[in-house]
């Protein structure tokens, strides 16, 4: 079974630039999550999708972050404009009928 795929693996941008991350969940998984993991911390939930609808985006900084999952499969997370404090690993996870989520390897973002 293929896992959660994310790209790119690494991204370096200057502050105030924009960036987008892509996630392809495990086939058939209706639930998709984006987490932000700052160095030395646990992952922090940004947004949860159920199919193509948003279930929880209470911790998403909506002034600069946006996410979509148009066809209920792939998802993109965008930051515009980026700040230095956005440097982190962005993890995508998906969940099917089971009770736990599978994580991708993440995209490491460095904002300089």
């Amino acid at each position: 079974e293929a896992g959660v795929a994310q790209s790119p693996r690494y991204k370096i941008i200057e502050k105030r630039q924009s960036v987008a991350f892509w996630c392809n969940p495990i086939s058939g998984h209706a639930t998709l999550y984006w987490y932000q993991q700052i160095l030395g911390q646990g992952p922090k939930l940004l947004i949860q999708f159920q199919n193509n609808g948003v279930v929880d985006d209470s911790q998403l900084p909506k002034d600069r972050f946006s996410a979509e999952r148009l066809k209920g499969v792939d998802s993109t997370l965008k930051i515009q404009p980026a700040k230095l404090e956005d440097s982190a690993v962005y993890l995508c996870a998906s969940k099917g009928q089971g009770r736990y989520a599978f994580f991708g390897q993440g995209t490491r973002l460095t904002v300089v």
Binding site: G42, L45, D56
Partner: protein
């Protein structure tokens, strides 16, 4: 409400045992344990639901004390492969569809030969 993990770090010799704790100030519905190695994805270990059950596989087990709102992860006869950072993730309520995890800050486990 972020759960509190303890200890922050543990260094063990191969074959020794370890206990990692995860405490919440609020009533929990479930606790999820993950292990993450450097630069890799977090990997699911086990889930504990309220009811005080204990689960385990191989030499890793966990318990959930509903009275204390605390879960403990037990690693018995640790192996080199157990090294990594252990995170507990919690869910306060069931139902409603929102089931994203709130993770603790992690416990770094180093196993030395």
């Amino acid at each position: 409400q972020q759960p509190v993990q303890s200890p922050q770090a543990v260094i063990l010799r191969e074959g020794e045992d370890a206990v990692i704790n995860c405490s919440s100030s609020k009533a929990l519905y479930s606790v999820h344990w993950y292990r993450q190695k450097h630069g890799e994805a977090p990997v699911f270990l086990m889930i504990l639901l309220k009811g005080g059950e204990q689960k385990g596989h191989d030499k890793i087990s966990a318990s959930f004390n509903e009275k204390k709102q605390q879960s403990s992860l037990y690693l018995t006869a640790s192996q080199l492969s157990y090294s990594g950072t252990y995170f507990c993730g919690t869910i306060l309520y069931s139902g409603g569809g929102a089931d994203g995890l709130t993770f603790g800050k992690g416990t770094h486990l180093i196993i030395q030969p």
